[in-house]
């Protein structure tokens, strides 16, 4: 039972971190608004739910809505930041602040719950597992595999990697790096939106939903190693598992802090992360 809890929480963290990791690795940008993309995904799901439509419809819509918004923001704002990573950090932080406060204004200071689209539990070997958490694990695995295939096996993925490795050469070869960056950012945002939509039944919807995941996400990306696909995923798996497993052993507050502190110490002595090197 504990193992299932841990696995499902690990899956959630992987899902949240995937978009962050792709943007950080492929574009070299630390997107501080990523947590707010997660929040937006959750909010879209909530809106669709309150409109009387089925929840799963909101979950399907969320990645597209958030991805589209990510694309627009990239075109208008984020693309000005590529030259300076620190300014990018602050700029996306400001963006995140705007999104967060708008959502806070819309929902008030409330904690809103969204029901699971698939309720109940599945009995396997005499133990009951929450169906929705199982669905999250399965979808995470699918999304992970899909993203990997997209980046590693398709022509589009090849272009993304080319734009990362050597932008000048990529442009000279007729790849529009501008469009690629826009698409990559939108893709990362869409993944965050999906994550938000899927986790909102487990957590409730509140304005500061994103902040917690933001710190967790960055720590995971750094632990895993920037520049590769496998790095952030591995980091997220590790951080997610630890965050879920430690509270079973020590008090939750200490566990929460201990994971982050351990992670920072790890990064200090191995700055390149778990998976060194670039590529997919």
């Amino acid at each position: 039972m504990a193992i299932f809890e841990i696995a499902s929480f690990g899956a959630i963290v992987v899902l949240v971190v995937l978009g962050l990791g792709i943007i950080a690795s492929m574009m070299g940008i630390f997107n501080f608004a990523q947590g707010e993309f997660v929040l937006l995904g959750a909010y879209v799901t909530y809106i669709v739910h309150t409109a009387g439509l089925p929840v799963w419809l909101g979950m399907v819509a969320a990645p597209f809505v958030v991805g589209a918004l990510g694309f627009v923001l990239e075109r208008l704002i984020v693309r000005r930041f590529y030259a300076a990573p620190i300014v990018a950090m602050l700029g996306t932080y400001a963006l995140g602040l705007i999104i967060r406060e708008i959502v806070r204004g819309l929902i008030g200071g409330l904690y809103l719950s969204v029901p699971e689209p698939v309720g109940g539990s599945v009995a396997i070997g005499g133990m009951h597992f929450s169906t929705w958490r199982l669905v999250i694990i399965v979808i995470t695995a699918l999304v992970m595999a899909g993203s990997y295939l997209l980046l590693a096996r398709t022509a589009f993925g090849l272009r993304i990697r080319a734009s990362l490795e050597n932008p000048a050469l990529a442009r000279a070869s007729g790849i529009s790096t501008n469009a690629i960056y826009g698409a990559t950012f939108a893709f990362g945002a869409a993944l965050a939106g999906l994550a938000g939509a899927l986790i909102v039944p487990v957590f409730t919807l509140f304005a500061d939903l994103g902040i917690r995941f933001l710190i967790q996400g960055f720590v995971a990306v750094m632990v895993g190693g920037i520049g590769s696909f496998a790095g952030p995923v591995a980091g997220a798996g590790l951080i997610g598992t630890l965050s879920a497993a430690l509270p079973w052993v020590i008090s939750p507050v200490i566990a929460d802090v201990a994971v982050f502190v351990l992670a920072i110490i790890f990064i200090k002595f191995r700055p390149q992360g778990l998976v060194a090197g670039k590529g997919v």
């Binding site: 000005r80 400001a94 963006l95 602040l97 406060e101 960055f218 507050v253 200090k268």
Partner: protein, 343 residues
């Protein structure tokens, strides 16, 4: 003899023209100082209390400006030093009954310094030079962790923090909020400001500015880059600690938010908005943001944070040097260190 005369006149005239171009910054500083000194005479009492809080936050903003504006270290955890000093003096007052200004303020200063030395030493020193992202993330995590620990620690009052701290005392006189506290805060602000100003115009400040512009070159000049960073980080922690202890006694209570991510990022906003890399920019940014937020908070409480975010984004996009750059030329803002004509 005949050769030296024209040379000296050249350097003389250059010195004069440079000093003529150099007048805007001191003028702004003096204007701000005069306004600050006269303010309690015209403000109502409750506004003086609010203004005192803003002054203390200015002091806090200065501490962030030193690390980010001058040395280029992105510290997202400035509240750790602010809050830990606040908690420290609150505990001194609550458990030991120590409220004398001669003891609590140095204690706050030391606590801030010690925490900054520990965190900064860990993050900045070592075999691998720390990347900017790592420092930003490490400080942010530190702030989050302290907030969580304070919330969960019964001795520190948990969620509620430590309420009703007795007032700070000088001898038997109790310093309560109001004009007296205001003038004390502005006194500390002026002293710290002048110290920072002196420090930033010294060789040390020059090396820090070089660090911000091109770290590698400063390293090649033979400076111990990491040591410089750790020193300025600890100093800024001490200033934040002073601000935190003043804040704790002014408000009369401390609570976990004082350590957390919200305050840490708020101080970043102040400095970026006003103009990092100039000391007066940090002060102006704090005053403007706090004044506007006070003014708007009654009627537009909900949309004020959104406006703040939009303004910040606009500043970052179009005025990276902050509000101060509207008044100050680039040359004067960056400044030429040392004597004019000897660049």
């Amino acid at each position: 003899m005949t050769e030296t005369t024209p040379l000296s006149t050249v350097s003389l005239t250059r010195g004069i023209s440079a000093s003529r171009q150099w007048r805007v910054l001191p003028m702004i500083e003096i204007a701000v100082l005069v306004i600050g000194l006269l303010l309690p005479l015209v403000l109502q009492d409750y506004l003086t209390v609010y203004a005192t809080r803003v002054l203390i936050l200015c002091l806090f903003a200065l501490s962030f400006d030193l690390v980010w504006g001058y040395a280029g270290i992105m510290s997202f955890g400035q509240a750790v030093f602010f809050g830990s000093a606040g908690y420290g003096v609150a505990l001194l007052a609550r458990d030991l009954g120590i409220t004398s200004i001669l003891l609590v303020l140095p204690a706050g200063l030391l606590i801030g310094f010690a925490f900054a030395l520990l965190l900064g030493g860990f993050l900045l020193l070592g075999r691998h030079p720390a990347s900017v992202i790592f420092v930003a993330l490490g400080t942010l995590t530190g702030s989050y962790a302290c907030d969580r620990l304070a919330r969960g620690w019964y001795y520190l009052g948990g969620q509620n923090g430590i309420p009703s701290i007795p007032p700070m005392t000088i001898g038997s006189y109790e310093l309560t909020e109001g004009p007296v506290y205001y003038y004390m805060a502005i006194g500390f602000l002026i002293v710290v400001y002048l110290l920072c100003r002196f420090l930033m115009r010294s060789q040390f400040g020059l090396a820090l500015a070089g660090l911000r512009e091109n770290e590698q070159r400063i390293a090649f000049f033979g400076y111990k880059v990491q040591h410089l960073k750790a020193i300025i980080f600890s100093l800024s922690g001490a200033i934040a600690g002073l601000a935190g202890s003043l804040y704790a006694f002014h408000e009369g209570f401390v609570w976990p938010n004082m350590l957390g991510v919200v305050i840490s990022t708020q101080v970043v906003l102040y400095v970026l908005f006003g103009g990092s890399g100039t000391l007066i920019g940090a002060v102006i940014g704090t005053v403007v943001i706090e004044a506007v937020s006070f003014w708007l908070s009654n009627s537009y409480q909900d949309i004020w944070p959104i406006i703040l975010g939009v303004l910040l984004l606009l500043v970052i996009l179009f005025r990276p040097a902050g509000l101060i750059s509207l008044l100050l030329s680039e040359r004067e803002r960056v400044g030429s260190f040392g004597r004019p004509g000897k660049r």
